[in-house]
């Protein structure tokens, strides 16, 4: 019934222009410099590892990264032993064992990184009715990608403009659609201990956005590398085939 009603609503929305208005538009997130931009762009392992720290120590309190396995962390420069160590600090449910019982055990590199909540309902119950979205595809799932993530956590929590009507249980965020976000400002200066790099809010926001871009597109480095070879090959092919075409057509008047 709900489905039919929703379908009907969608059809009505498109049949009656102006009837259904979207939420208030937020300004587009300002563009940041990313190491993975451009033809030769690659991920920076130190950045991604710091970003993982930010995710692990801050974001993971509410947000899962459900498409990531612990073993994936080897691709951002952790050794196999380090990954084992990271995984072993998590507990996952396995089973059933021979007695038919589910049991808990430390996570292994082959396990998905467990999320903070057993299900969406638990997540809503713990978050004032809001569902913290999965972050493993967030840079693909929002216009602006990593710029959006950076803008939300690094820039958006400013003083609301005059005339802004606050909604209880929400915070003002300049870059969030509708400007009312249920997430409290997540990053505080010095919240995460980095090796040497000062953990400023812009630094943490940048690193976590880069990490989440990697989480969404872990094959970007390989894609860029292979693309360069393929494009180079095809440039040569275009020249060769053009010359061949010229040569063959020179046999006849045309």
């Amino acid at each position: 019934m709900l489905k039919t009603a929703a379908a009907l609503a969608a059809v009505l929305a498109l049949a009656a222009p102006g009837a259904a208005q979207a939420q208030q538009e937020a300004p587009p997130p300002p563009h940041q410099e990313w190491s993975f931009d451009g033809v030769f762009g690659t991920y920076n392992e130190a950045t991604l590892q710091r970003g993982f720290q930010v995710y692990q120590q801050v974001c993971s309190a509410c947000h899962p990264v459900k498409h990531l396995y612990f073993r994936d962390l080897e691709k951002i420069g952790y050794t196999a032993d380090e990954v084992k160590g990271i995984a072993s600090k998590y507990t996952v449910t396995d089973g059933p064992n021979k007695a038919g019982q589910m049991f808990k055990r430390p996570a292994r590199p082959s396990d998905h990184i467990p999320g903070p909540f057993p299900n969406d309902e638990a997540a809503r119950a713990a978050n004032n009715g809001g569902l913290p979205p999965d972050l493993s595809m967030i840079t693909l799932a929002r216009d602006g990608g990593p710029d959006y993530v950076y803008a939300i956590v690094g820039l958006g929590f400013t003083k609301p403009p005059a005339g802004f009507v606050p909604v209880p249980g929400t915070y003002y965020n300049k870059y969030f659609a509708g400007n009312h976000i249920k997430m409290p400002p997540p990053l505080q200066p010095g919240e995460v201990k980095f090796d040497g790099t000062p953990a400023t809010v812009p630094q943490m926001a940048h690193d976590v956005a880069a990490f989440l871009n990697w989480a969404a597109e872990p094959n970007l480095d390989e894609r860029h590398r292979m693309g360069f070879k393929v494009v180079l090959f095809l440039v040569v092919a275009v020249i060769v085939f053009y010359a061949a075409k010229r040569k063959i057509w020179s046999r006849i008047p045309h």
Binding site: L2, K3, T4, A6, A7, L8, A9, A10, V11, A13, L14, A15, A16, P17, G18, Q21, A22, Q23, V39, H67, D72, P133, M137, L140, A141, R142, D143, A177, A216, P218, N219, R223, H224, M226, G227, F228, V230, V231, L234, V235, A237, V238, F241, Y242, A244, K245, I248, W249, R251, I252, P253, H254
Partner: protein, 433 residues
């Protein structure tokens, strides 16, 4: 009818003559070499085909690329609403080169439509649909409609938000049809809403339809080879001096075009794979949350804009039904183009007025594409309505009337004469015949 030729007789008389005994033996039973010679190596093709004629073979190659990548995707994809989204992520992350295969398939759909739209507009400009190529054109329109159905169902498979809600909106359109509409929607859904049965049948049909397209392309090619390609002058071949063999002249020209295409396509696949992707489709389908803007892929935006432009009921027909008729009518009207265009001259080169007004059609469609991508309010609706009006005006009024009123420029006496001028060989060709 004469008696069928005997093997001894035919061996000397068919195209396989001059080949070895094995080839003659095979060709007598299955005209393989003879067909190759008739349809490729010796196929007489106008000497003056421009690069606009590359897009037909390019479309065929694109279909093969789509089928090849699709077959591999289907080995890893799971058409179950609880698994579909994650299975696509598994392809992107853990299947060897899965990301590459999927990025090719996803962007290949857009490339395929771009190629086919150029192919179609080339036909419209040079009057390729006119006598005696009406059925060739009609088969092309059939292919386009099959492509639209295939692409639409393919877009549902990743089971993201736009998959679900796009499917919901489009399938719901059928419910506007009086009497049978709700029956059709229920049949499409396999239930009372877009759900697991819908995803399963869309996957099945998405796998089936490309093979149907292959069959219709076969007919399209048979019809093409009956009278041969049209050409930029739009005049018939008068003799061997007007033609060259397809191979090697157009095989190499098509290969060169293919390389240029692959270069551009690779840049998109490797450096901008998500440029055309809607971010909402990276969010798993959710029946309880409607996306703020439901938009189809770019290649369907004009039809979507026409659908939404009908905001009024007319003659007691409700706006929704009228919109559905207008949107589907925009495809159906293409079937009638050979008879709507009354001009005896094919190529727009010799039609001083059509040559200019032709461009209003692509302009109106680009406008409709823009309208389809934006929220239907204010000026957007007005532009959409003007463009929709023009789209129908172009086909229903302009083409028939212009053909009668316009005075075409004189046609050249032959392709060779026009292309080669004084260099034209007199009374015979040097090549191929």
């Amino acid at each position: 009818m004469a008696a069928p030729p005997t093997e001894a007789h035919s061996a000397a008389g068919t195209a396989a003559a001059g080949h070895g005994r094995l080839t003659r033996w095979i060709d007598f039973r299955l005209p393989f070499v003879a067909s190759l010679e008739q349809h490729i190596t010796g196929y007489p093709t106008p000497i003056n085909l421009s690069y606009w004629w590359n897009f037909g073979s390019l479309a065929g190659i694109m279909l093969l690329i789509m089928m090849a990548t699709g077959i591999f995707l289907a080995m890893f994809y799971t058409p179950d609403t609880s698994l579909a989204f994650d299975s696509v992520q598994r392809i992107m992350r853990d299947v060897n080169y899965g990301w590459l295969i999927r990025d090719i398939h996803m962007n290949g759909a857009s490339a395929f439509f771009l190629i086919v739209y150029i192919h179609l507009f080339r036909g419209l400009y040079y009057g390729s649909y006119k006598y005696p190529r009406e059925l060739l054109w009609i088969l092309g329109v059939v292919i386009l409609i099959l492509m639209i159905a295939t692409a639409f169902m393919g877009y549902v498979l990743p089971w993201g938000q736009m998959s679900l809600w796009g499917a919901t909106v489009i399938t719901s359109l059928f419910s506007a049809i009086p009497l049978v509409g709700h029956g059709i929607t229920t049949l499409l859904w396999g239930g009372y809403g877009v759900g697991n049965p819908t995803l399963h049948r869309f996957f099945s049909l998405h796998y089936l339809l490309p093979f149907v397209i292959v069959a219709v392309i076969g007919l399209h090619l048979i019809a093409l080879h009956q009278h041969g390609s049209n050409n930029p002058l739009g005049i018939d071949k008068r003799g061997p001096q007007d033609t060259i063999p397809f191979h090697p002249y157009y095989t190499i020209k098509d290969m060169f075009g293919l390389m240029v295409f692959l270069l551009l396509f690779s840049i998109v696949v490797f450096y901008l794979p998500n440029f055309l992707a809607n971010p909402d489709n990276s969010i798993p389908a959710n029946h309880l949350q409607t996306p703020a803007h439901i938009v189809p892929e770019w290649y369907l935006l004009p039809f979507y804009a026409i659908l939404r432009s009908i905001t009024f009921s007319f003659l007691g027909i409700p706006a929704k039904l009228l919109g559905v008729i207008a949107a589907f009518g925009a495809m159906v009207i293409l079937f009638f183009v050979p008879w709507l265009d009354t001009s005896p001259v094919r190529s727009a080169r010799f039609r001083p007025v059509y040559k200019w007004v032709y461009w209003l059609l692509p302009i109106s469609l680009i406008a409709l594409g823009w309208v389809g991508a934006h929220e239907p309010k204010g000026i957007v609706v007005t532009i959409g309505q003007i463009a929709t009006f023009y789209f129908y005006f172009h086909f229903l009024i302009l083409l028939p009337v212009l053909g009668k009123l316009e005075r075409p420029r004189p046609l050249p006496i032959s392709i060779a004469a026009a292309v080669l001028g004084s260099r034209a060989p007199v009374g015979g060709a040097a090549e191929g015949h």
